[in-house]
């Protein structure tokens, strides 16, 4: 029994030691695994943040350069603007001077215009008076000439009626002469027609006579040829 108790006590002690060992190992493992997880978590966060920061820094650098470029452009544009403003100011000043000069010219021109207007109005009235006198003279001349034309027209109408009478008489006499001539023409035409038929007859007669003559000539030629042949034969 004593042995059993001793063994049991030893075994319990051994078991306890094993349990303590196991629990301490498991605790150590758990703690190690927890800290490993935490470490991994921190590493993961660190990785993401590092990459994000790199990205942001790079984007920022690009934007910075873009910004500085734009700033430079802005500065050069500003200086250009200043230059342009100075130019505009100069142009404005020149412009003002020109305007003053033009205004002066304008006022002198206005004065000239007034003077010329005065001068021209006296001239116009003078010319109007002259025109009036000329118109009056012209109307009296027109009146005179129209009277003259009237008188001439009247004398011309009288002369014209007399001439018409004379011509009517002459026309009647001439018509008489024409009818007589027409009659004589008609008789001479009939004579001509008869003469024409006579000529035609005569022409026919002449043609027949000519035919006879030509036939006679041919017979003469034949005779002559016959005669020549006879003579040759005789020779």
């Amino acid at each position: 029994m004593k042995l059993y108790k001793l063994f049991f006590a030893k075994a319990s002690l051994y078991l306890l030691q094993v349990l303590v060992l196991i629990s301490s190992i498991s605790c150590a493992t758990m703690t190690a695994s927890e800290s490993e997880n935490k470490y991994d978590q921190i590493k993961a966060e660190n990785k993401i943040i590092k990459q994000n920061i790199t990205l942001l820094i790079r984007e920022n650098n690009v934007l910075k350069e873009e910004n500085s470029k734009l700033k430079n452009e802005n500065a050069s544009l500003k200086s250009d603007l200043k230059l342009l403003e100075a130019k505009i100011e100069l142009l404005n000043k020149n412009h003002e001077k020109e305007i003053a000069l033009l205004n002066e010219r304008y006022s002198t021109l206005l004065l000239q215009k007034d003077k010329l207007e005065q001068e021209s109005s006296s001239k116009i009235s003078q010319l109007q008076a002259e025109n009036k006198a000329l118109e009056e003279k012209l109307s009296s001349e027109i009146l005179r000439l129209s009277l003259e034309i009237k008188n001439k027209e009247e004398s011309f109408a009288l002369e014209k009626s007399e001439m018409e009478k004379k011509y009517a008489e002459m026309e009647i006499a001439l018509q008489k002469k024409i009818s007589e001539a027409q009659n004589s023409l008609l008789s001479s035409q009939t004579q001509l027609e008869s003469l024409k038929t006579e000529i035609v007859d005569l022409k026919d007669k002449l043609q027949s006579a000519q035919k006879i003559i030509s036939e006679k000539d041919l017979t003469i030629e034949d005779l002559k040829k016959k005669n020549q042949t006879q003579e040759q034969n005789q020779k």
Partner: protein, 716 residues
């Protein structure tokens, strides 16, 4: 005064003419004019841009792929206006400038070209999820992904609605299911990929509630998954996919698939230009025309274009400033590839094998100065490096899986010159991308250590110090010595209590007395080895005590040297020292020295050797010479049940051929593995010692069931 008035009126006239010119010009630019609005719905689509900006500023307007594409799209918007421009993803990675800007330079391109949205694709995730989120903040172009979730709600915009002549069209984005989220994002951002069917279902439902008549999916899934979606959801009119592997049918590239239910899948994966798609939306969307236009140099005159070019030039100059750092110099041309990167990882993490994905490194010949930008330009994978342990069986499965892996450290199915052993664990180094694929192949979680460095960082660091990345010969990695410790603890405890009176007899088969029996058979193998030499030191205790009686009391130390000559025969030298654990009548010590050859054939392993043994203490004995035969074999019946056979004989005699003895021990065991470290074994041991001198023998058999604790460690 009148002059001033005329000057003022001239200015007003000039202003009116200017406004008229602006109005005329404005009416001709993107978006379409009223005249075009009544015609077809026109979409411009790009895909797989891969952030391929050049890094040169000179002639960039004519030579840079992305800039010429921007010119072509803007020019198209003026010459032949369109309604919408979308990108199908894979646009941020692996272009060096895009990598450097964490995708920001590509978002500048999208902003300039008025891109409405881009789909988040698997390769884009190399940039890092939080970086993508940060780069795309406050941009005109939105990232689409209906299945990328953070705390159960979409991380990016799941869809957008486009109104065309009063018709609402929903464009839903889907991220590839094969996407690998970087470890940091997984740990910190609590993001997850929802199943694409569920994601599409909920997006379609919401889009319909908002009055959408037409649904178009912008997908980076593969063809099988896209077909499944269009079959499951007849509401989907069209799927545009730019995913490269998505466009293959029986390994044949295809560009369009029409489904009987009316849906169409368009594979739009060309990347040196843009697609112009004309849709007739009178009823179901009908494809009127689809053309691909290659990008080319176009002269653009606008302030926004000048600003875009200026922004990209600044990115490039900053890239040159930072990435023109000299990392190292090489005196001769060296060809670098995936193999170099994998071997470098093995070198840096002292692992037995290293695995990376094919094309993680663009093959290149480097000579002279190696700059930071050189490294940035060749690396095609920016996931962190993980180290973990895989069993030989797992490694074999990975090799057989025919994945696009480049594995260094395995030659002719051997690791460091030794056949891959199924139960043995090997140290592995890989990218997170490969690790995720490995867990999918093996269908189990594997404990890993994240090294928080990418391949780019590893190469940069390595080239500054060891330059293992540009080595031509990596044989030295196999010549490295490693220390491995295998522990096998097999223990049992048996306590029997008997109490009986004086009058009763012991029942048959029951013990007559109380006894306590406990024992252990513990082996520790401490191995120091490389590809040629193996030094193994094995302390062994076999101790069984029954009450005060020692049934087994053996303490053995073995030192074994093996020369790894070839696969079948390996010479060895063995020194064995044996004594007792607990001293009983002194401490006898026996030593045995043998040399011989180890023979290997499949699962059988035998040793034949000659040597001598001598008891050197407590009755010093004569030197006896002998012949030893050792054989062991392990046959796996199932994954967890194995049969193990061991035979150990030593035939010895004294120099004068007297005292011939034969000692034989045969052990048969059936071992059931409960988990990776615990197992139960049923063992049967048979021992015989025969002495010719006295013509007598000693036999001993033992059958026992034990609880085994097995574990192994590798230190370097």
């Amino acid at each position: 005064m009148s002059c001033k008035k005329s000057f003022h009126s001239a200015r007003i006239k000039a202003l009116i003419i200017l406004i008229a010119i602006i109005h005329i010009l404005g009416s001709n630019s993107f978006p379409k004019t009223q005249e075009h609005k009544d015609e077809n719905f026109t979409i411009i689509i790009t895909a797989n841009l891969q952030g391929l900006y050049s890094t040169e500023i000179e002639d960039q307007e004519k030579e840079d792929t992305i800039i010429t594409l921007a010119q072509s799209i803007v020019s198209e918007s003026k010459e032949d206006p369109f309604d919408l421009y979308v990108d199908l993803g894979n646009s941020l990675y692996p272009g060096a400038l895009s990598k450097y800007s964490y995708g920001s330079a590509i978002f500048d391109f999208f902003d300039f070209t008025n891109c409405k949205a881009t789909v988040l694709s698997s390769r884009d995730l190399n940039i890092g999820l939080s970086n993508i989120e940060l780069s795309s903040n406050d941009r005109k172009t939105k990232i689409l992904s209906s299945n990328m979730l953070r705390e159960q709600s979409p991380l990016f915009m799941p869809y957008f609605i486009h109104d065309f002549n009063g018709k609402k069209i929903a464009f839903i984005g889907i991220t590839s299911q094969d996407s690998v989220l970087d470890d940091a994002s997984k740990k910190i951002l609590d993001v997850d990929l929802l199943d694409y069917n569920e994601a599409v279902k909920s997006s379609i439902q919401r889009a319909k509630e908002e009055g959408c008549k037409n649904i178009i999916l912008l997908s980076s899934l593969n063809l099988r998954q896209n077909t499944e979606l269009i079959k499951n959801f007849p509401e989907i009119d069209l799927i545009f996919t730019g995913n490269e592997p998505g466009g293959k049918f029986f390994s044949v590239p295809i560009s369009r698939v029409d489904i009987d239910t009316g849906g169409t899948i368009l594979v739009l994966n060309k990347n040196k230009g843009f697609y112009r798609l004309e849709l007739n939306l009178t009823e179901k969307p009908l494809i009127e025309s689809l053309k691909f236009y290659e990008s080319s140099y176009k002269k653009i005159h606008s302030n926004s274009y000048n600003n875009f070019i200026s922004r990209i030039s600044i990115w490039k100059s900053k890239f040159s400033e930072e990435e023109n750092k000299i990392i190292t110099e090489t005196s001769k041309p060296i060809s670098i590839s995936d193999e170099n990167a994998a071997q470098m990882l093995r070198h840096r993490y002292r692992t037995e094998i290293a695995i990376i994905e094919k094309n993680s490194i663009l093959p290149k010949i480097v000579e002279g100065t190696i700059y930071s930008r050189t490294i940035l330009g060749i690396v095609n994978n920016d996931y962190p490096i993980f180290t973990y342990r895989l069993s030989g069986a797992d490694i074999k499965k990975i090799i057989e899986s025919d994945s696009d892996f480049v594995i260094s450290g395995i030659k002719n199915n051997k690791i460091q010159g030794y056949e891959i052993s199924d139960p043995k664990f090997y140290s592995v180094c890989s990218t997170q991308f490969v690790y995720d694929k490995v867990t999918r192949i093996l269908r189990k979680d594997i404990k890993y250590t994240n090294r928080w460095n990418t391949i780019t960082e590893e190469i940069t660091d390595d080239l500054k110090k060891d330059k293992s990345f540009i080595k031509e010969n990596y044989d030295y990695l196999d010549e490295r010595f490693r220390l491995a410790i295998d522990i096998n603890l097999s223990n049992f405890y048996d306590k029997s209590e008997v109490s009986m009176g004086d009058k009763i007899s012991t029942p048959p088969g029951k013990p007559s007395t109380t006894y306590t029996r406990w024992g252990m058979e513990d082996t520790i193998n401490i191995k120091f080895y490389n590809n040629h030499h193996e030094f193994l030191f094995t302390p062994y205790i076999y101790f069984i005590k029954k009450d005060e009686q020692y049934l087994q009391n053996l303490l053995r130390g073995t030192f074994l040297y093996t020369y790894n000559a070839n696969d079948y025969v390996k010479p060895y030298h063995k020194s064995v020292g044996e004594t007792v654990v607990k001293e009983v009548d002194g401490r006898p010590i026996l030593v045995r020295e043998t040399i011989g050859a180890s023979l290997f054939w499949k699962t059988l392993n035998g040793k034949i050797g000659i040597g001598f043994e001598k008891q050197i203490q407590e009755e010093e004995g004569p030197v006896v010479y002998g012949f030893e035969t050792i054989m062991d074999a392990k046959f796996n019946i199932t994954n967890s049940l194995a049969y193990i056979f061991k035979l150990d004989t030593f035939i010895s005699s004294a120099q004068d051929q007297s005292n011939l003895q034969m000692r034989t021990e045969i052990a048969n065991s059936l071992s059931l593995q409960i988990n990776s470290i615990l197992g139960i074994s049923l063992k049967h041991k048979w021992f015989k010692l025969y002495s010719r001198e006295i013509e007598d023998s000693y036999k001993y058999t033992q059958t026992l069931i034990s609880l085994d604790l097995k574990t192994d460690f590798k230190f370097f």
